[in-house]
Symmetry: C2
Subunit: 225 residues, 2 copies
């Protein structure tokens, strides 16, 4: 992992040292603690990952509007610098907690641990966690959620699945969004579905267009909600 | 920085320790060494950053086709797992070296140091370095290039600039691409241009559509090529 690498320049010699940290191990332990907290409180939890502009927030808003009479929903929204997504969630009608990661490219289990302490866990039974926008870093940091959902958009071009096998392998559900733009973007949605299948044959694939209202029922079914 | 953080779970206590590493300092030193190598060999170098599907490779292809009779061009293409981009570069007619970062979310100066050793530096005078696809990590790792160029696409939605101030601050040039889709995406390009100006008033902003052939001359001018 790049994040565990140290470079040293020493008297003209370049040393390239890989160091082993307990970062991933500790994160995994904390993720288990988070999972226990969710289970004890009968909260179903979903880690929503995807690149900038793939539609993560829009999809969560869409689910909130559809499900808010059936579930008591909260959202933990991770973002590098702004509170825009948390505001959009609130407008849709759910409780929302913002985590700003600054220069960090993913949420981790400790951030979630701290965030859930701010929630009244007795008052919710469905939790969406919106991860930081990219398809690389979140793959390495499980948060303890029951489901991992990856959202991609056809506007990201034809290669976003095969370029990111690590995150696709971690996914229970892959949402291919903005399919109304597929022809215009010259992206073959069936090919993307097959790409997912080759990397992770047990992932459920749902094709959606939030804008056109396509795929919401399929997504709710995949989430078992 | 998240990547310099260690989490420990110790007898039920969660310790959240920030550790200071010499990673960024060493990277900066190596970046200076790279810059000297470029200068000694009269090579103009450009670090091309941007999210997955923003159009980094397409823009580099476009520049190669336009400039290959004027410059001897090489490309170092960083990608997490595939060699797709390097192949696309070769098709456009330039020498190309692939760096796979695996789970790493950015290139660093050492990777570039190693890659340029494989190039015949006397045979090139323009080098594009295509960074790994996201708007977060590459901001912290200068590579020693003369110019930093950030490519965003209107398909990433209305917030990609204001959500990523760190990378925009590092940019000499910001390319707003796929402007032919702005109306359909309900994204206001003028607003994005203003967002850049508020974060980094010295960055040049170029609006492009590779598909429609809009903005190439402006981009070449901004790059002083």
């Amino acid at each position: 992992m790049q994040k565990n690498k140290i470079l040293k320049v020493d008297e003209g010699e370049i040393l390239d040292i890989e160091i082993e940290e307990d970062l991933l191990k500790a994160n995994k332990e904390l993720a288990s603690v988070n999972r226990k907290t969710f289970d004890l409180n009968n909260i179903k939890s979903v880690n929503v990952m995807g690149a900038i502009g793939s539609g993560k927030t829009s999809i969560i808003q869409w689910l909130i509007k559809e499900l808010k009479n059936k579930y008591k929903i909260a959202v933990i929204a991770g973002d590098v610098t702004t509170g825009i997504d948390a505001e959009r969630i609130k407008e849709a009608g759910a409780e929302s907690i913002q985590i700003n990661t600054g220069r960090g490219c993913h949420l981790d289990a400790l951030m979630i641990r701290k965030a859930i302490k701010k929630l009244n866990l007795k008052e919710i039974n469905l939790l969406f966690i919106e991860n930081v926008g990219n398809l690389i870093c979140p793959a390495d940091f499980p948060l303890g959620t029951h489901l991992n959902m990856v959202v991609v958009s056809v506007t990201e071009g034809p290669y976003m699945i095969i370029k990111h096998p690590f995150i696709i392998k971690e996914a229970d559900i892959v949402v291919i969004n903005k399919i109304d733009l597929a022809d215009q973007m010259e992206v073959n949605v069936n090919k993307l579905v097959k790409d997912v299948g080759r990397i992770n044959s047990s992932a459920k694939v749902v094709t959606t267009s939030v804008k056109e209202g396509i795929g919401l029922n399929g997504l709710i079914e995949a989430l078992k909600l």
